[in-house]
């Protein structure tokens, strides 16, 4: 798709910086991702061969500034931006779905039905993206300004205060005050409990692996019938 005046820009929300992301962006031993991860992400094996490293910009966002600017609370979340620099789809889960919640938490296995449903949701998203890349403004998948604003909640004062606390924590972490940083991460999480970015990032900085450990699963279970990745309405408004 890159020949069609289209570009992916990936942004890693990682306070751990280069050390945290380098093996993901440029694997030392490129190869296939494990099937379990493909199932969780709803990726097709064929399109995810890691034989090559990405040629598009893979940026590192230690301060989660893009999350703040675009009001993102989870990963993967994506925004479509057109040639004039305007948002044509707001921040939304990029093809990800909640199937992972049913998987075996030790083996990370999920049933073939759930895995297939996840792949289907992802495929809908990718097809919509291809349609936009092909047709531009004529695509049925871009949204009207009114619809974008309706789907895009503004930032509240509490959200802004949460972000300020996260930034303070991030600065302390970067200065080597890792324990002190957690006080402000905790305040960010308290002020904006819907941010999985704040939760999982701070857990991971506390202890590697904690972002997908028992605390994570307890928080996911506490959602009850609420979505982790809200289902998006992919169709346009035409």
């Amino acid at each position: 798709m890159k020949d069609k005046n289209f570009l992916i820009i990936s942004v890693a929300f990682d306070t751990g910086g280069v050390a945290a992301v380098k093996d993901w962006i440029r694997p030392a031993a490129p190869g296939q991702l494990p099937k379990e991860l493909l199932d969780i992400m709803g990726w097709e094996e064929a399109v995810c061969s890691r034989a090559g490293t990405p040629t598009y910009p893979c940026l590192i966002d230690e301060k989660h500034i893009v999350a703040e600017l675009y009001n993102m609370v989870n990963v993967p979340t994506a925004v479509w931006i057109n040639e004039t620099g305007h948002i044509v789809r707001p921040a939304e889960p990029a093809g990800a779905s909640d199937g992972f919640r049913t998987m075996d938490r030790t083996t990370l296995q999920m049933s073939p039905e759930v895995a297939a449903a996840g792949k289907q949701i992802r495929q809908l998203y990718v097809d919509a993206l291809r349609d936009w890349v092909e047709k531009g403004d004529a695509s049925a998948y871009i949204l009207s300004p009114e619809e974008i604003r309706r789907r895009m909640p503004g930032q509240t004062e509490s959200d802004a205060l949460a972000a300020a606390n996260f930034h303070l924590g991030q600065y302390l972490y970067q200065q080597g005050y890792k324990q002190d940083a957690q006080r402000y991460f905790a305040e960010a999480k308290r002020l904006r409990p819907e941010s999985w970015n704040f939760k999982r990032q701070s857990w991971e900085l506390e202890e590697p692996g904690k972002a997908s450990g028992p605390e994570f699963w307890a928080a996911v279970d506490a959602l009850g019938s609420q979505a982790y990745y809200p289902r998006i309405k992919i169709e346009g408004t035409t």
């Binding site: 570009l7 380098k22 500034i65 479509w80 948002i87 604003r149 503004g154």
Partner: protein, 140 residues
């Protein structure tokens, strides 16, 4: 007392900051160096923007014969969030929710500049003229 003041995403060390509870008093020179705000006859000014000091509330903003300015009072007036750490005497001033929301609701994609793995900086605006899928992920 030395303090680190992060304003507009830029950390500055201020040698003679005077933190008092939720307030942060700075000399006018330090205020300008750390934040860009200056005191002018029309009020506190940052580039072309001036904010009048609310009538009757001068003492919240200015003291010592107008030689010291309370940065925290100004940011409260502007709705900017503040987080501070007393142990390290560190103050972070963020962007107001209304400014962030207004920027987003304009539907003009907010610009940012971030490094890649090699430290090369990329701005979103470098890619103006292309369709862009801006997608987040994380290692965790």
């Amino acid at each position: 007392m030395p303090a680190t003041v992060i304003y507009g995403d830029r950390p500055s060390i201020v040698a003679d900051a005077m933190p008092e509870g939720k307030d942060l008093w700075l000399s006018l020179d330090d205020l300008r160096t750390a934040t860009g705000w200056e005191l002018k006859p029309q009020g506190a000014c940052l580039a072309d923007t001036c904010v009048p000091i609310p009538a009757g509330r001068e003492a919240e903003f200015l003291r010592a014969n107008d030689a010291q300015f309370n940065l925290a009072a100004l940011t409260r007036l502007l709705g900017q969030p503040v987080a501070h750490d007393d142990t390290h005497n560190l103050w972070f001033f963020g962007e107001a929710a209304s400014v962030r929301s207004h920027a987003l609701l304009s539907l003009q994609a907010p610009d940012f500049t971030l490094p890649d793995l090699d430290g090369k900086l990329h701005a979103l605006s470098d890619y103006h003229g292309k369709k862009i899928l801006l997608v987040s992920w994380a290692s965790w």
